[in-house]
Symmetry: C2
Subunit: 246 residues, 2 copies
């Protein structure tokens, strides 16, 4: 699905922005970059700012017109900082745009188009788009750098993709940081209750105290690793306690 999502940069002026845009794409799993009449490409500054994403620059296609870049696409979204001047359907929220784009990309190529740094897209270019999107920003200073705009929209596209059922995306999290099962939590609370009784802190069954402590640990959301740390501490304290009758 992500291979069907193309980023198109129209007549980019600063080569560094092409490199930074390539890096932004790659972090979000996008690889299809098309450049329409870039001022200067390939370029050393572009490669420097691509950092680990030089492969995207190497495989980028350079074409002579926006029409050529998007001819096979079923949805073409123009990113614009300006108030839309043409009555294209407009997304006020990038996340809504990203969900639609990912939906279409399941079957067909789609494109996100970014205009020139200073002047954006021409009216003729906007007519080649099916939709427009703006990144909501403060009215006082609403103009994002080109590669920053690519990063934000690519981030939303990747989010829309990974949140689809069946994407298979999992946050990277080590086993020990997983949340404990109800059974593991139950063993911990049993152990805690035993230690409280053995220490003489609880002289008789006292459901309210136990419930308060359960609520506290529920709020703290201990990981498996932390729970095993706490159980180790309880076991160590227990060695110094006389056995009491519950």
């Amino acid at each position: 699905m992500l291979p069907n999502i193309r980023i198109v940069l129209v007549q980019t002026f600063h080569p560094g922005n092409i490199g930074a845009a390539a890096r932004a794409m790659k972090t979000m799993g996008l690889t299809d970059l098309v450049l329409v009449n870039p001022l200067q490409f390939p370029d050393a500054e572009a490669s420097r700012l691509a950092a680990g994403a030089e492969d995207l620059l190497e495989s980028a296609r350079v074409v002579g017109s926006l029409g050529e870049a998007v001819t096979d696409c079923v949805q073409v979204v123009g990113a614009s900082a300006r108030l839309r001047s043409l009555p294209l359907p407009h997304y006020d929220e990038p996340d809504g745009m990203a969900r639609d784009l990912v939906e279409h990309a399941a079957a067909d190529p789609v494109a996100l188009v970014f205009g020139r740094e200073r002047s954006g897209l021409t009216n003729d270019e906007i007519r080649l788009c099916s939709h427009q999107v703006s990144i909501p920003a403060t009215p006082e200073y609403g103009i994002l750098n080109l590669s920053q705009a690519v990063q934000v929209l690519a981030y939303e596209v990747f989010k829309a993709w990974r949140q689809r059922p069946g994407s298979g995306y999992l946050p990277q999290r080590p086993e020990e940081e997983r949340a404990p099962s109800r059974e593991q939590l139950g063993h911990f609370h049993d152990h805690l209750t035993r230690v409280m009784r053995e220490s003489g802190f609880l002289t008789q069954p006292h459901a309210r105290t136990e419930a308060q402590l359960q609520a506290l640990f529920a709020r703290a959301q201990p990981s498996r690793k932390e729970l095993s740390l706490l159980r180790g501490l309880l076991a160590s304290l227990e060695q110094h306690l006389p056995e009491r009758q519950g």
Copy 2:
């Protein structure tokens, strides 16, 4: 609320990243920038990349330690590309982090902390944070440029802020692009029905045809401007039609 949200950059190596981060902040309504031991600041490259956000660089505070930068904050979120090595509460999703941060910022200062370009935050610095956040990215190449990470998290913070009830934020949209009222739509459909009858296309009341056309225009979601264009067209056609009895 937004003035209470501080961005802290720890020992930034490339001055250009400081400038690009300032611009990213400003587009999202954030103004409080604190620099912990920047390698070089002030700097011409930082100012160049700040573009319209030089005022943030001028008002930035430079301090000697992260502790000093966050001492008055009630929530301190460290941004990290790496798997968390310390058991701080961790946000897997920037939007959840942003909602909590904005919530706290209603009353007190909070901070988002970004580490060094290559090595991030030290363990001692992570201990000064109350939480960590990661930007979900592709496992193959998950490392965003520093200013890109600032842009994504600032974007989520601004989104969380403007989506709160009472933020007063409205997408910038000209009056003519507002959706028409039910009354305006009703007048349009009455007009359309009249023209269909006068033209002889409908010879008797025919609710099904009218309902189909209403459904079509509902899907097209015409703006006020487009609706008035359509009504102008109907009026122009009407002049050529004989009056019929409905």
